[in-house]
Subunit: 552 residues, 2 copies
């Protein structure tokens, strides 16, 4: 089974080719015992013997695990091989694993908790803006997909088809939904009659299936989880407003929750969703400077309502086709978080989406220190938990504190609290930031007193959140080049950067850029420079600059 | 499309056969314009002209809808045809609609909101008891299903199979998950190594597919939503404890949240889940006195761990197979709520799971009363909302207050607040209970003052919640007959009741009962009568009484 599916699970990036398949496989599929401190790459000084943290050899009542033998479980340095690094992190942080079917993924609890945090935020926002959740069946008659011309063209190559049900060949093949516009319109046609039924604004959280050939955990899998919003309106203006509202919501989410400074804009005609009149997108720059399309919002115009006869009677008694939108964010976003913030040590999670915002590591040497330290740790945990902070104690006795420091840094927990016997007697704790390695990120003597501690930790979480966004923003900005000619564009792309330049050339010329450089128009950003512009390709007047990049 | 799938959507009940197919179809599939008050069956006096509520002919600035012509949209009386009544409620309350593929269901926002309330409660409880959410792929290699002998026997007749992916015939057919034990064990085998990895306790919220021949919205659909918990333990005792813990959680949920007085117990061998050593169940009595299996928890023993080689090294260094459980509650539960509490007027929702706990109906006659009434309604809404109560104002101007009263009674909202001009000047409101029709359920002059109103409404919601449970419990108890002989059992079942009697007979005799009476052993209840017992069938000594009933 394993051997059969491996080829498809290597990355799209050329770097991946350099990594032996065996290595990728073993990294991700072997039993993932937590890593030995000694086996991490040592860019950041994660074991600090000079302070409260004890040396790894500290006596604790644990059988010695055979960590020394597991030298192969290092995390590949990010700079050396971004794709191998990405897969290593997913394996070591236990975010996901491969499913038995080629290209499928099991989302493990720690990875799923990030998705749950995304859901919790967006679900509230969707409801606040008047959308209701509901659920559509995932089996769609094949004939539905064929009704909208560009839709079938876009999706038919990647459909999974159910042909047998209950032991019998089916009369009509069923499509396992790749997206739900067709079945949504089939139902909307039955529910919408007059302008009083509009706007109709719904959302569903669901799994979708696209038979992708080249897969990568989170970024592109045969089956993934997402939310898909679908709305119907009486006027094109309302539909446009809705499509823009939702891409704005995604943008705000990306900035404020995920600390990802996406660039929002409009897709080129070539890159527009199959069946949409206009597609808006948020584009994120990953750590390897490739772009990730992290969320989209489509103005569908009347394309689906015409194909499915979704009409309403307007206030003047006239029959009209509805104007529609759809918009989605998927588990791909988790991949975006990993690839935006992670470093050689491992994952680095934005506090607002981290399953564990604060990890508490109790430290003791002698048996008589144990109770005092564990009691203090437990009380700190309760204090923070009561204040709504996601906190966990790592009190396992099989691992040294040094090991735990590394483990939770690798898992990307934004803050660590260390409590040793000296801290207990001082009534204070040590707080370390994941985003600032070593002594610089460490503060001693923070009072355990509830209100002081809560205020301090909340403040620090906010600081880490802002700092991640700042860092990602400056990385992004230093890797976007303004270009005036195709030569400059090619040069920027060849350097692995994004190119931004005026564009009013044809679809053919856009495809030529893709063919020759590997870069595509990611979007025409909403934020546009002032002044007159000349198309970088043709020299003709251009209204807008476009953003070009290689992408996932 | 519609005609093709109708046969399967009629009910299993004999009553359904009496309802012309055309009628069932039209009831559920026609555009569901809200019903006219006049067209409701009139068991409860829902339009009360003698009190604050104005007569329907009150002038409001609405075009008169053509309600009089929609005489066919009545709700079939429950006593006349339970199945038709059930389908009418689902259609009229907009809980669900038929999907385009035979046997599939679209869960509409109001129905989905009930499912969300179920999720919110259970999700917290699962986490409190140490379970983590995660996600497994829905495509399972066909060979997996074949590994556990009784599992394949139980599930193979109802599988949906994907045979084509990305335009190509697949080498191995893929099963769209009917349940996930096989793929879970495949992954557990990779993750579990030593006793330190145990217990492993996870849950997923997912869709599942079973190619059922006879379907019914919520109760049995080709695709449904559920949560499935899966755990692995080091000892059989721990697995048994977990299986019992989860059925207890379901029982508590049913009683306290859904106001459904389920009977919890153990399934007979014949009725045990395909692949389980022991199945625990909660059985609910519907309004037609048929049993609904509303949730199950399985002790899987080592059946799947042996089939999939899921082993761990115990504390003595010995390799052992893990002991497992799985447990699930599905969208079927929504059907159980409808069929437990609904009456001729429509749905009746337990406050703890109602999407709208309080509906506020503003009432005015003259234009100059409008603002005052709407302001008061809005302020009442805000007050209640701030107190965590799910409240909605129905301020549409196209419908009369009388129409709204009926509509929201049909939708099952537990409480209604009426606010008219006289109420505004008195600073008070009128509160009506859904579960007590007419004047008896109506209280005048409840102060609008925040703390008074909130306390009053919370108290009333609790009362309604308790009252629904009491009513359902006394209905259940008056329909269970203690039997000592097969003759008595047959008589009870023939009367449509449940029969409870001592049982120690064979599987063959159990199947004979099913064949001859249509009833099955629903469970051996946990609560057993004291004293010695003789099997109702054989006269041999019996340890336990069993509960027999016809079921969905």
């Amino acid at each position: 089974m394993g051997a059969l599916r491996l080829p498809s699970l290597t990355s799209l990036s050329s770097a991946a080719a350099a990594v032996p398949r065996h290595h990728l496989c073993r990294q991700l599929r072997l039993p993932l015992r937590p890593l030995s401190a000694a086996n991490f790459s040592v860019q950041s000084s994660t074991v600090e013997k000079d302070v409260a943290a004890p040396a790894p050899e500290l006596e604790q009542n644990s059988p010695k695990p055979k960590l020394q033998q597991e030298k192969d479980r290092v995390i590949t340095p990010r700079s050396q091989d971004f794709n191998a690094w990405y897969l290593d992190i997913i394996a070591n942080a236990e975010l996901a694993d491969y499913g038995p079917v080629r290209g499928t993924m099991v989302i493990r609890p720690y990875g799923y908790a990030i998705w749950e945090a995304i859901q919790e935020y967006l679900n509230v926002k969707f409801k606040e803006t008047g959308h209701s959740n509901m659920y559509f069946p995932q089996f769609i008659p094949y004939s539905f997909i064929e009704k909208e011309a560009s839709h079938v063209e876009g999706f038919s190559p990647e459909l999974a088809l159910v042909t047998i049900g209950g032991g019998k060949e089916l009369e009509e093949k069923l499509v396992v939904r790749p997206t739900s516009e067709t079945i949504v319109n089939h139902m909307f046609t039955q529910w919408i009659h007059s302008y009083r039924d509009l706007p109709l604004m719904i959302n569903q959280w669901a799994n979708v299936t696209r038979w992708e050939m080249r897969t990568k955990p989170f970024v592109r899998t045969l089956e993934f989880l997402w939310q898909e919003g679908h709305t119907a309106h009486a006027t094109p203006e309302e539909a446009e407003k809705e499509a823009l509202q939702m891409i704005d919501m995604y943008t705000k989410f990306a900035f404020e929750q995920a600390a990802i400074p996406v660039i929002a804009g409009r897709k080129s005609k070539v890159e527009t969703f199959a069946g949409a009149s206009r597609t808006y997108t948020i584009e994120a720059m990953m750590g390897d400077r490739k772009a990730l399309q992290a969320g989209t919002s489509h103005n569908l115009g009347q394309n689906f309502s015409r194909a499915f006869g979704t009409q309403f009677t307007d206030e003047n008694g006239q029959r009209q086709h509805v104007w529609q939108t759809s918009w989605a964010i998927s588990t791909r976003f988790v991949g975006g978080i990993i690839m935006t913030h992670g470093d050689d040590v491992g994952l680095m999670l934005p506090p607002n989406l981290a399953p564990v915002q604060v990890i508490v590591v109790p430290i003791w040497k002698k048996a008589d220190e144990r109770t005092g330290v564990l009691d203090a740790a437990s009380s700190v945990k309760q204090t923070l938990q009561a204040a709504g902070i996601k906190v966990k104690i790592d009190d396992s006795e099989q691992r040294t504190p040094g090991w735990k420091f590394n483990f939770w840094e690798m898992k990307g927990a934004p803050l660590r609290i260390e409590i040793g016997p000296r801290d207990v007697s001082n009534g204070s704790v040590v707080v370390s930031r994941r985003d600032i390695p070593g002594k610089q990120g460490k503060v001693f003597g923070i009072s355990m007193e509830s209100s002081t501690l809560v205020a301090y930790i909340k403040g620090k979480l906010d600081e880490v959140q802002s700092s991640l966004l700042e860092r990602a923003t400056s990385f992004r900005d230093s890797n976007i080049v303004d270009v005036c000619s195709y030569t400059e564009l090619k040069e920027a792309i060849a350097q692995g950067k994004w190119a931004r330049g005026p564009w009013s050339a044809s679809d053919e010329e856009e495809l030529k850029v893709k063919e020759e450089t590997g870069a595509t128009i990611r979007c025409f950003p909403f934020e546009q420079p002032q002044g007159t512009k000349k198309c970088l390709m043709t020299g003709n007047p251009a209204d807008e600059v476009a953003l070009f990049a290689k992408s996932y």
